[in-house]
Symmetry: C2
Subunit: 230 residues, 2 copies
């Protein structure tokens, strides 16, 4: 399980503090399918980064499988992440000079779980699973449309077969058909291989699909939508 | 008016050509409110870049106010663009080391339409119009959430009070409230100041809002949705 315990996250801008998260307590168990909804700037990306150990909390603790990792070194954290967590970033973070297949294979070469031949075969399979046409496999991100880059980012998050996938607005650039393909892939992976998904979204169809929705506003997490939420 | 006449756009990948646009004929008149819908990779961004003179067609002609600008030099085109066309790019293209206000003011300093004091006042007004909270005005893009960056990108497109705004998936990162604020701003600017908008979108609410919808699939434009479109 991934846990945040009494987590604050703030930024210091000149003379005042901007709170992105306020006293957040959240636990995600293996096999969960959770969505996080909230207005622009409410702290959704910050929450994914903190629970996924990409960002450190300003106060409070983060636990992975009941181990307090809040003060782990960066290299210890990156080993935890590589083994357990896949990310789909809000703005992809693809490597611009690598092809779609290379972008998806890269995490597999870092984790040494697969050799380069296996990584390539696995990368091609994941790209077809998310709907990228085969003749785009050798395109770099600049040669792909926005939605196609999003497909590469989703495939890359699945590269090392992680137990948990943290996805930040994964359908923002996808058309209706790719969105529904994405949702059926999630359902399949969650039900059959018990993968855990935490999905930040503004898309009502995606949120209701997960059945376990957390609401966030001004850095505070609610189990039910607060007054005049939407 | 902006026009594409028999426009092809293709990319050469090794031994074959990828057609992003095929024999496109489209005319956008001043005061129009048009949306372009189509699957990922169908040519929407390419169409906006070509009709907005950011990209050259592989075949065919582009006209602005009946002037054939297809073979104009880059500096002639950039003068046309600065005077007439505002862009909201699919991935923003904000300048990372400038603040929100500076990003919006920058096009005004290039066009010399406003001095730096006027540009700052106008930039702040545009940012509040699109919904960015005032205490974020001095944040750089890295210090803003995805939706907040989108608001800056929309405000920047309005900087020089252009006659035409080309927006590529402008609500992809916006929450429901900001999306409806964006739509009412568009309606106000279109009805009261006769601004022209061409909006690429996967969002059905945005598409139906424009009343004039063009469909695109595999680079071909249709006035009505082709067979099994969605
Ligand atoms: N530089 C390039 N080299 C090769 N192919 C390219 C290049 N740029 C775009 N393409 C291809 O052209 C096609 C059209 O791309 P475009 O970005 O216009 O799609 P789009 O309709 O905007 O899609 P999305 O909704 O995913 O943003 C895509 O199949 C894309 O892979
Ligand atoms: N480095 C930073 N410095 C200052 N403020 C920051 C920084 N990073 C984020 N913020 C602020 O923290 C708040 C939360 O940001 P976050 O990116 O988590 O929002 P979000 O819910 O993901 O929004 P969106 O839906 O627009 O992506 C925002 O108000 C943002 O301006
Ligand atoms: Mg975000
Ligand atoms: Mg596009």
């Amino acid at each position: 399980a991934l846990e945040c315990i009494n987590v604050d996250k703030y930024y210091i801008m000149g003379s005042y503090k901007i709170y992105a998260l306020r006293n957040v307590n959240i636990k995600v168990n293996y096999g969960d399918l959770v969505s996080i909804v909230g207005p622009s700037g409410s702290g959704k990306s910050t929450l994914l980064h903190v629970i996924g150990t990409l960002d450190r909390p300003s106060k409070g603790a983060v636990k992975i499988d009941s181990i307090d990792v809040t003060n782990f070194s960066e290299s210890e954290l990156s080993r935890f992440r590589r083994e357990k967590i896949g990310f789909v970033f809000q703005f992809f973070n693809l490597v611009t000079y690598l092809t779609a297949v290379e972008n998806v294979a890269l995490p597999m070469l870092f984790s040494r779980k697969y050799n380069s031949k296996e990584a390539e075969i696995r990368a091609k399979l994941l790209l077809s699973l998310v709907g990228l046409p085969e003749q785009r496999f050798k395109n770099t991100p600049r040669q792909l449309s926005g939605g196609q880059q999003q497909m590469v980012a989703i495939a890359r998050a699945l590269a090392n077969d992680p137990a948990v996938i943290l996805a930040d607005e994964p359908t923002g650039n996808l058309d209706l058909e790719s969105t529904s393909k994405f949702l059926s892939t999630i359902r399949f992976l969650n039900e059959v291989t018990k993968k855990t998904f935490v999905i930040v979204t503004h898309n009502a169809e995606v949120a209701t699909f997960t059945k376990n929705i957390k609401f966030i506003r001004d850095g505070i997490i609610y189990e039910k939508p607060p007054e005049d939420f939407l």
